[in-house]
């Protein structure tokens, strides 16, 4: 795979009508993988903070620890209900946004995207951040996808828009 091929993939997909099943599948699997990443990061953070163990989470959800292991082990079993249950058991909920699909880096894209409903310029936001459910307190993000590695300026936009 050359760089030029990689950079053209998004354009190629967006230009398809209809979008090929193969390319739809790529994005379906990608979404599952990213949801799984959020789940694992949230669990690992909670576990490291000593707030919960796998056994306790299993008990809370009425599942066997082996089932919790399966959910954490791979994205192949990832479903929305699973994500919801696991985050709920950990005391979190997702904060969901979307961003325009682009080959550009997030930092570049952040200044050029148009609003969907009112044509105002807005910065694209992180696609999903997990917030701890804390009544009467400001929700604190605990985990995001690897896009938390993006440049600081973009992460600031994330916080503002999240």
């Amino acid at each position: 795979m050359t760089n030029s091929q990689a950079k053209s993939f998004v354009s190629e997909v967006l230009a398809e009508t209809p979008i090929s099943e193969g390319n739809k599948i790529y994005f379906q699997e990608r979404l599952k993988s990213r949801l799984h990443e959020i789940l694992v990061n949230t669990f690992q953070t909670a576990e490291q903070q000593g707030t919960i163990t796998k056994t306790e989470l299993a008990r809370k959800l009425g599942k066997r620890p082996e089932q919790i292991s399966r959910w954490l082990n791979s994205s192949s079993n990832m479903q929305l209900n699973t994500l919801s249950d696991m985050l709920l058991g950990l005391g979190y909920e997702p904060d969901i946004s979307v961003r325009e699909l682009s080959d550009q880096s997030a930092q570049t894209a952040s200044s050029t995207v148009s609003g969907i409903e009112n044509n105002e310029t807005f910065a694209p936001v992180s696609w999903l951040i997990v917030h701890q459910v804390q009544p009467n307190q400001t929700n604190r993000p605990i985990a995001a996808s690897t896009y938390s590695n993006w440049p600081n300026t973009y992460r600031e936009n994330e916080r503002i828009n999240a």
Partner: protein
């Protein structure tokens, strides 16, 4: 000469390619290099829609690896969780690992770790063709080892005794 220099040399020969994530803005935390056999399958052109779909499912897994997402690596070729992302192939002394794409028809993408977070994928097979026969698995591993040797000669892949030496962000379950 370092193993990375060897890899760069093989790339200049056209025998290896660095797999770039399909979404160009994705983080590149880990690396996957592919030999010709794997490259042909992953990048196409494909003979039919089924092959395209199968390749894209696998590609999503490979981009997950490259993006640096948490992954599970089994410690034992036989005693392993069904959903392990990576697993060693028996015998472990061969240092050969399979990326396990488990959506049917399942695929095993087989290669070795050249360094931490650097996987060199050299051969692949449909899981159904491997069956439960030790000899077919051994042949797959041998094919991978032969390809590794032809590329890198005396350089040995990373051993897998300590999974933390193979990749970062290992899921411990």
């Amino acid at each position: 000469m370092s193993i990375q220099q060897e890899i760069d040399y093989r790339i200049s020969e056209g025998r290896l390619s660095l797999l770039e994530p399909l979404i160009a803005s994705d983080p590149k935390v880990r690396k996957i290099y592919v030999g010709e056999e794997v490259r042909d399958f992953v990048e196409g052109p494909w003979q039919n829609d089924n092959d395209h779909e199968r390749a894209k499912r696998l590609r999503a897994d490979l981009d997950t690896f490259i993006r640096g997402a948490p992954i599970s690596i089994a410690a034992d070729p036989y005693q392993k969780p069904n959903d392990s992302f990576l697993a060693p192939i028996d015998p472990m002394s061969d240092r050969v690992y399979a990326i396990r794409n488990r959506i049917k028809p399942s695929i095993r993408l087989v290669g070795c770790f050249a360094a931490k977070d650097v996987f060199v994928a050299l051969v692949w097979a449909y899981r159904i063709d491997l069956g439960q026969n030790k000899r077919t698995w051994r042949n797959l591993s041998k094919r991978c080892k032969a390809e590794w040797k032809s590329l890198f000669n005396t350089y040995q892949p990373l051993p897998g005794a300590d999974r933390d030496q193979l990749a970062s962000k290992i899921i411990r379950v």
